[in-house]
């Protein structure tokens, strides 16, 4: 039996005002570009979240007890649904009610907290867990870290926290000659399952689907199913992990992405011995083939599959060091609004916008960057952070 695990990432950051200037420091405590956040969320809801949720609901009804998918929705995305488009949230709740959809745990603020503050990491994970319980009536047992950032230490921590499954990138540097199409176990753990993204097949959908220069263009459900089917005998698990916005937003409706997805289960089911499962179900069917040692950080970003999209240049490092430096002072304020504001500034996107790698993956970065340049992103973030520091100073929490 070969299983297909679909996991879709849903995330929207709270973007900062593009004109938050030096003169705002100490005076203006409203940092977010509400207008942009609202309109982006509603645009993506219209193009992606609403139609894709409906499409998945149809598929689930068509294949009761069979067709399954999983989501990880960041807490900041959930908050924006609640504020700007509750209908999207209702559809996700409908999906949850089918029993064929799993909701995965992550850091509430889509943050890099694991790298900078274990305390903050655990608090955010707990917050997100509670949010899932409240909204979707599930208690998650699967964890995915922001941007699939992963390290042996993360796995050890997660096992201690009681998780059964963790998800990351099937990066070449950790797999070597091995295939991502099996269940693995993180080095040093005893019960934890490790799911590795099949980036070839995932990216065929997420990135290459509409690329007319691609030799396999156009991609049909049948063609894709035939690639999946060909793994039979040399794989057990096909992990298709991608941004949910692939559907209708990164790949527009007129590329045929919705028709593709609609036809996919039928094409897969043409061969027996193929099924769709969720990450929590993997241990019902498989035992880990071997342990995977990841003594350095990996992620699913860019060609390097490392942390350089968020960290490593002085802009990013200076900003992220400073924001974590004030953690204690922020928490000592016991001011929930202030703590929440600070946490929203931990969202990884802020540091992604400061990335200066314009060569290999510059296009992708530019697409997602609301600011003119990474330097603008830094200057705006620094201004906001300085205002937050001013507030803490006024409260005598910082010198």
């Amino acid at each position: 039996m070969v299983s297909i695990v679909f996991y879709f990432q849903v995330h929207q950051p709270f973007r900062l005002k593009k004109d938050y200037s030096f003169f705002d420091i100490g005076k203006n405590h409203f940092y977010e570009d509400e207008e942009a956040n609202r309109s982006i969320l509603n645009k993506v809801a219209e193009k992606c979240y609403i139609p894709t949720n409906k499409l998945l609901l149809d598929l689930i009804k068509r294949y009761p007890g069979q067709f399954k998918v999983s989501f990880s929705i960041s807490g900041v995305a959930l908050e924006q649904f609640e504020m700007y488009n509750p209908y999207v949230l209702e559809l996700f709740q409908e999906l949850a009610a089918t029993g064929q959809v799993e909701f995965i745990n992550e850091t509430y603020f889509h943050s890099l907290s694991f790298l900078f503050s274990k305390k903050e990491f655990k608090e955010q994970v707990q917050m997100h867990k509670e949010k899932i319980q409240k909204l979707f009536g599930q208690t998650p047992s699967t964890f995915r870290n922001t941007e699939l950032i992963y390290h042996n230490d993360l796995a050890l921590e997660l096992e201690k926290m009681g998780y059964k499954t963790v998800i990351t990138e099937g990066a070449n540097q950790i797999l070597g000659w091995r295939s991502p199409n099996f269940l693995y176990q993180p080095t040093g753990t005893h019960k934890l399952n490790l799911l590795l993204k099949n980036f070839k097949l995932s990216d065929d959908i997420a990135f290459r689907f509409s690329n007319q220069a691609w030799e396999d263009y156009p991609l049909t459900a049948e063609k894709f199913a035939s690639w999946v089917h060909s793994t039979s005998g040399n794989g057990e698990l096909i992990n298709l992990f991608m941004d949910y916005e692939t559907f209708g937003e990164h790949q527009w409706a007129d590329t045929g992405i919705f028709e593709f997805m609609k036809a996919m289960p039928e094409a897969i089911y043409k061969k027996p011995d193929f099924q769709f499962i969720t990450p929590a179900e993997v241990s019902n069917f498989y035992t880990p083939l071997s342990q995977i040692d990841v003594p350095y950080y990996i992620s699913w970003a860019d060609l390097e599959r490392d942390l350089t999209a968020w960290l490593g240049n002085p802009l990013q490092d200076s900003a992220i060091e400073k924001i974590y430096e004030i953690e204690q002072a922020v928490k000592a304020s016991k001011d929930n609004n202030l703590i929440h504001t600070w946490r929203k500034l931990l969202t990884s996107d802020h540091f992604y916008y400061m990335c200066t790698k314009w060569f290999s993956d510059g296009d992708v970065h530019k697409y997602f960057n609301p600011y003119e340049s990474p330097y603008d992103a830094y200057v705006i973030y620094a201004n906001v952070l300085n205002d937050l520091i001013e507030i803490l100073k006024q409260k005598n929490l910082l010198k």
Binding site: F23, P314, E321, K322, A382, N386, I389
Partner: protein
């Protein structure tokens, strides 16, 4: 040019500004006559004509206007001017009496031999003096030969407009302060109306700052295109309230303002800032401007981990520039080479002491500014520290440099005003 104060008869900044502006205009080759309410018998030694309103003999003036106009078709004036119908001595005197009756509150004392009385003060007679000054404006409009009429602040606007109507010449009004600045919420309606009247009748308005320009546009409903900005110097203790701003951070601010290019030496500023921060914490550095080195400077500041001490504003214009100078405590111009460099002057307009590179032309003029070699980061940092740690010294440096630049500043202002005149005359 109508003013209210002129040295040595001054009680506020208006007199100093009037002196500077007339001097600047004179040096730019503009011929002018300055009108003021009274000289109080003092002698004012300037290379242009001073007319004291309380020495303008209305009857004699009037007669000479008549004689000059003998050959002119009077009907031309009848349509335009208030005085025009009173073309006999008797009728004119009657007009003045009429004026008095109509303005019972504004007592009009026609003193002996046809002189009007002026104190030139700001006492309770002020409003009637302002109206009396209007009569002088009108009569001078007939009698004095000029191309442009220029009036400073609301006190002289009635006179300026009257002179414009009498002479048919264009009017420039110069706004040093508005009633909104002076009184905030509790605006004197009468003063406000006179200001608005002046602004509406003016052909061009000169505002002393972008801040003032904004007020003229937003509170008085005047078209922004009609307003030019020519900066006046502001005293440190008044500058924030004058510009209606509050400093947004507590720390002192050291400012670099200019293009962020190799020639301007921004990198020396960044390195020196880092050195200062090792010894002194109550300070923030601001780099205001844009240019091809900006990204490098941002990277460097991030590398030095000065995120909470060093800020970038990007390119500033108008009111933001004023705000930036006004909130700064030290100005630094570390130019590698600079033919002249006007920015330290601008900083000094806001009483900000300047550290300038020896390699800038302006170093020759500002004897009292602090000068360093642009490449000498240690010395630059040392000088910044010195000014930051010693308020008295900073004040002294600013004051002395301001003395160095005063005349040069007014020459610049004079040139700018001359350009304003030229555009009016060319239209």
């Amino acid at each position: 040019m109508f003013g209210w104060e002129f040295p040595p008869i001054i009680s506020g900044g208006l007199g100093t500004a009037s002196y500077g502006i007339t001097r600047g205009l004179h040096n730019s080759g503009v011929e002018l006559a300055f009108v003021m309410p009274t000289k109080r018998g003092q002698k004012i030694d300037v290379p242009f004509k001073i007319i004291a309103a309380d020495e303008v003999h209305l009857i004699k003036r009037y007669e000479s206007v008549i004689s000059e106009m003998k050959n002119i078709d009077v009907s031309v004036f009848e349509k335009k001017f208030t005085i025009a119908p009173y073309f006999t001595k008797e009728e004119y005197t009657e007009y003045l009496h009429q004026f008095r009756i109509e303005n019972k509150q504004k007592r009009l004392e026609l003193e002996q031999e046809g002189l009007l009385h002026f104190t030139g003060n700001y006492g309770k007679e002020l409003m009637s003096e302002v109206h009396r000054y209007g009569i002088i404006g009108e009569i001078l409009g007939y009698g004095e030969d000029c191309d442009i009429i220029h009036a400073h602040d609301w006190l002289t606007f009635i006179a300026g407009v009257a002179a414009k109507h009498a002479s048919g010449k264009p009017l420039v009004i110069h706004v040093h302060a508005t009633e909104i600045d002076r009184s905030g919420e509790h605006v004197n309606k009468e003063v406000f109306e006179i200001e608005k009247y002046g602004m509406e009748h003016a052909d061009k308005i000169i505002a002393v700052s972008h801040f003032t320009k904004n007020i003229i546009v937003s509170k008085y409903g005047i078209d922004a295109d009609k307003i030019e900005v020519v900066h006046n110097a502001v005293e440190k203790k008044h500058r924030l309230e004058r510009l209606g701003i509050e400093k947004n951070v507590k720390e002192k601010i050291v400012l670099f303002l200019g293009r962020v290019t190799m020639q301007k030496g921004p990198d020396y500023f960044v390195e020196a800032a880092y050195k200062v921060l090792q010894k002194y914490k109550n300070v923030r550095f601001v780099m205001a401007g844009s240019g091809d080195l900006l990204t490098r400077m941002i990277l460097r500041v991030a590398s030095l981990r000065m995120l909470d001490k060093f800020h970038f504003t990007g390119f500033l214009k108008g009111i933001e520039v004023e705000k930036m100078y006004a909130t700064s405590d030290v100005y630094v111009m570390p130019s590698v080479s600079e033919p002249f460099g006007i920015s330290p002057f601008e900083a000094l307009l806001y009483d900000v002491p300047a550290i300038i590179s020896k390699q800038s032309g302006v170093a020759e003029v500002l004897d009292n500014a602090i000068k360093v070699d642009f490449w000498d980061i240690d010395r630059l940092a040392e000088m910044m520290l010195m000014l930051l740690e010693d308020d008295e010294l900073a004040k002294e440096v600013a004051e002395k440099s301001k003395g160095d630049m005063e005349f040069i500043h007014w020459d610049f202002a004079g040139e700018k005003i001359k350009i304003v005149y030229k555009t009016i005359l060319n239209n």
